[in-house]
Symmetry: C2
Subunit: 451 residues, 2 copies
C-alpha cells in the first residue's frame, strides 16, 4: 500500500459516517421545506452545499452547510427576516445555537454531533449576478459536484497534506488554500500527485483559467479564475508566503515523502532551559510585549495583530534598533515578540543635516544644534553638516514607553494596550508558562531539519 493510500485510510469517511451524514442532512433539508410551507413562505429551495455535499470532507470534520435559497424577487429585508425565521425553527432541536454575521445573518448550531450552518441566500441565475457573497456557494457546489467525481480521494488527501503543513484555510489568520480552491486545483491537475509535482515549479503570476473565460487581471501570486464567475480569483486570499510555503513543502514531499507531512508531530513546549539557551546562544535581544487580548473574532483580531507586529517593527527600525525577527501569539493574552540586534544603542546619534552650500538650511541647522545641550559635536562630512546628538530613546524599553501608544496599533489593540501592557526582556520570556506560547517560540528554531 502506498504512503498516500495509508493516509487516505486514516482520513476517508467510512460508509457508516457517510450514511449518518446523509441521514442528518436529509432530515434538516426536509425540515427547512416543511417549515417554509407551514410558515407560508414561498419559493424556498433548501440545499446541502460544501464538502459534505461533494464527498470531500475529512473523516471526523462534521460540518453541514444548509443553504436556504430564496427567489431573487424577494427583498433583502424579507430574506433576512424569513431566512432567520426558518433557521430558528429548524434550530429548535439543536444546541448552542448562535446568530452569526457574514454579509447577512445566519445561524450556527450543534445538532446530532454536527456543526451546522443554516444560511439564507438568493437563488440567482448565475454567479455573476450574486447579491451577496454566499449566493456564490451553490454555484461552486454545482461545478465541483459535476467535475470532481472519481477524484474525491485526491481532494481529501490534499486537504490533509495542507492541514499538516499549515497551508490549509483561507481565513485571515492563515491566508492559505480554501476548500474550494483545493478542489479546483485537483480538478485542474487531475490528482494529488500531479498537483504536488506541478506545484514544485510554481512561480508567482501563475494563472489557472480552466474555462478560459477570465476577464480581469489580478495582482495575486496565484490566480485561479472561478469557473462560475470570470471576474473572480478563487486564490485571492492566498498570501505570497503561503504560496511559497506550499511550493516548499511540495518539493520536500517529492524528495522524501512521509506521513509526517500529513500528521506532523506536535512540537514540544520549550522548557525553561531551552528558552534560556535559545536566547543566550543567539546573543540577540528579545522584547516581548504582553497585554490582555481583546475578545474579537479571528478575522478581525489577526489582521490587527499583523498590523501591530508591523507597526512595532517599523517603530524600532525608525529609531535605529535593527529588527531581526518578529512574531506574535494570542490566547487570553497577546504576546508580540520582537528580536533585535540589540536592545541598547549608544547615546550618540549621528544626525545628517543639509549640505553646507544651502545657506538658509545650513544656518537653521547650525542654530538649532550649535549651542544645544543635546550636542556632542557638529562637523562637516562630505560637504554636509553632521550633528552628533543625544539619542532620545537609547533602550528598547524606553522607546516602547515613549512611543507605543502613538503607534498605529489598530482600533481594538490600541485600546487593549492603553489599558496596560508588560514588557519582558530576553530570558524573562520564560515567565510565560502557557505551553502553546512555548510551542510558538519554536518558530526561532524552525525547520532546522529538512521537514
Amino acid at each position: 500500500m502506498t504512503l498516500e493510500e495509508n493516509v487516505l485510510k486514516r482520513i476517508k469517511p467510512g460508509p457508516e459516517e457517510k450514511e449518518k451524514l446523509q441521514e442528518v442532512a436529509s432530515e434538516l433539508l426536509a425540515r427547512v421545506s416543511t417549515i417554509s410551507r407551514i410558515k407560508g413562505i414561498e419559493g424556498i429551495t433548501p440545499k446541502l452545499v460544501g464538502s459534505a455535499a461533494r464527498n470531500t470532507w475529512i473523516s471526523g470534520t462534521h460540518d453541514l452547510d444548509i443553504f436556504i435559497a430564496f427567489p431573487e424577487s424577494v427583498s433583502r429585508e424579507e430574506l433576512e427576516t424569513n431566512g432567520l425565521l426558518i433557521a430558528r425553527e429548524v434550530a429548535r432541536n439543536g444546541i448552542n445555537t448562535e446568530e452569526r454575521y457574514a454579509e447577512h445573518p445566519y445561524l450556527n448550531m450543534q445538532y446530532k454531533g454536527f456543526d451546522v450552518d443554516l444560511v439564507p441566500c438568493f437563488a440567482v441565475k448565475s454567479a455573476a449576478e450574486i447579491k451577496s457573497a454566499v449566493d456564490r456557494t451553490p454555484f461552486h457546489n454545482e461545478f465541483i459536484k459535476m467535475s470532481i467525481p472519481g477524484r474525491e480521494d485526491d481532494v481529501i488527501t490534499m486537504k490533509q497534506f495542507m492541514k499538516g503543513t499549515g497551508t490549509y484555510g483561507s481565513e485571515l489568520r492563515t491566508q492559505g488554500f480554501s476548500g474550494y480552491l483545493t478542489e479546483l486545483l485537483i480538478v485542474h491537475y487531475g490528482s494529488f500527485r500531479n498537483l504536488i509535482r506541478n506545484a514544485c515549479n510554481w512561480k508567482p503570476g501563475l494563472v489557472i483559467d480552466m474555462l478560459e473565460h477570465g476577464t480581469v487581471k489580478h495582482n495575486d501570486p496565484l490566480v485561479v479564475v472561478d469557473p462560475t464567475d470570470p471576474k473572480r480569483n478563487v486564490a485571492a486570499a492566498l498570501s505570497l508566503n503561503q504560496f511559497a510555503n506550499f511550493i516548499d513543502v511540495c518539493r520536500s514531499y517529492s524528495e522524501k515523502p512521509s506521513e509526517e507531512f500529513f500528521f506532523p508531530k506536535e512540537k514540544e513546549p520549550m522548557q525553561d532551559d531551552e528558552i534560556i539557551n535559545m536566547i543566550t546562544s543567539r546573543r540577540s535581544s528579545f522584547i516581548a510585549i504582553v497585554f490582555r487580548a481583546p475578545e474579537l473574532v479571528d478575522d478581525i483580531l489577526y489582521p490587527q495583530m499583523d498590523k501591530m507586529e508591523q507597526s512595532l517593527s517599523a517603530l524600532f527600525e525608525e529609531h535605529e534598533f535593527q529588527v531581526l525577527n518578529t512574531g506574535y501569539w494570542v490566547k487570553e493574552n497577546a504576546v508580540v515578540v520582537i528580536e533585535l540586534m540589540s536592545s541598547r544603542l549608544p547615546l550618540v546619534k549621528k544626525h545628517r543635516g543639509p549640505p553646507v552650500w544651502v545657506y538658509e538650511h545650513a544656518l537653521g541647522f547650525k542654530e538649532k544644534y550649535a549651542d544645544s545641550d543635546e550636542l556632542f559635536a557638529l562637523y562637516i562630512d562630505d560637504g554636509f553638516y553632521v550633528a552628533d546628538i543625544k539619542r532620545k530613546f537609547s533602550t528598547a524599553i524606553e522607546l516602547l514607553e515613549g512611543k507605543i501608544e502613538s503607534c498605529s496599533l489598530g482600533k481594538h489593540l490600541g485600546k487593549a494596550v492603553a489599558e496596560g501592557y508588560t514588557v519582558l526582556e530576553d530570558t524573562d520570556m520564560a515567565k510565560i508558562n502557557d505551553p502553546e506560547f512555548r510551542r510558538f517560540l519554536r518558530k526561532w528554531e524552525q525547520n532546522k531539519s529538512k521537514n
Copy 2:
C-alpha cells in the same frame, strides 16, 4: 584700526625682512648665472618665482623658489643632468642639502635662514606647451606679478585666514587652497572682504574663468580656470569637504569676525578623564588600530591613510558593524580610530536567500544550510528563504584579527600592518600619551561652540 589691519600688522613682512629676502634671492640668482657660464651651460635663465617674487609671503615663512630655466631645445636628460649640476654647485654654501623628486629631480637646501628650492625647468613659449608641471610656475608668476600689485595685503590676510581655519595648502594631506589659487581668488574678487562675502554663497559647480578661455569641463566642486592654461583647473586639488569648510568659516567670520579665525588657540590635549568621559558619555564603541608608521612623504602617506580609513570602515559595514565616525593620526605611530554603534553583534545573523520559486537556487540554499551546524533556523519570509546562521565575526576585534590583512590597505601600510599592530578598545585609547594624538581626539567634540 580694523580687525584685519591688526592681523596684517602681525603677518606682513617689514622692510628689513623684504630687503634681506631680496638680497639673498639676488645673490642666488647671480650664482646660478655665474655657475652656468663657468660650466659652459648655455641659454640658462634664473628666475625667482613663488610668493617671494610676488610679495605675497607671510612674515616668517622664508621660502625661496629659484627656477633654473633651460631652452626648450635641450633634452630632458640634459636638463636633469645640467640642472642638478648647477644646483649642486649653488648649494655648496647651503646646509641640509637634499635631492628631491617631483616630475624631475630638484634640490632643497637651507641657506642664510631660507628654505630654498633650486628647480630646473624648461622655458617653454606658453603654459599650454609645458613639458613638465614645474614649467608652468614661471607663467603663474608672470600673471600674478602683473595682476596682484596693490592687493598683496589681501592675499596674505587671506592666506593667514585659511591657515588659521585649516583650509590652506593643496597637498594631499590638506586638499585645501594653494597659494596660487588664493592669489587668483583675490584677483577675481578684488579684496579679502569681498572674497569672504562671496564665498558665503558658493555652491559646488562654481566656475571662475577670468579670461573666459576655458576649454574643458571639470567635475570639481570649484573650477578656477588657469589664466595661463585654458585646459587647467587651478582648484582641482580642493576637496568637496574643504570647499564646504571654507564656505562655513567665511559665514561664521562674516557673522562674528575675530582674530581667532587667523590665530586659533591651540587645542589642549585631552586629559585621561576627558577621554574616558567622552567615550562613556557617548556609549558607543571606539576601536583604535595602532601600528608603526612607514617613513613616507606626506603626499604618499596621507592618501594611503585615507584609503586605509575607508577600507576599514567598509570592512566593518560589510560585516554589519555600523560605523559612526572615523579618523586617523600619524606621527611615529599611525592610529586609525573607528567609532562604532557597537563593537559586539549578536551571534545570530540573518541571511536572506533566493525566492522560493527559483527552484535551482532554492535547492542549493537549503542544501547548504539545512543540516549545517551554523544554522539557528531556516524559514520562509515574504516568499524568500531566510537562514538565521552563526555570524563569523561577532566582535570588532575578531573581525580585525580575521580580515585586516586581506583589506586593501595600500602598499606601504599593508606591509606596516602585517609587521604588527595593536588594537585598543574604548578607554584603552588613553594609553596613548602623545599630546598631539590627544589633541586629535578633540575631533569628537568638534565645533561644539560656534567657532
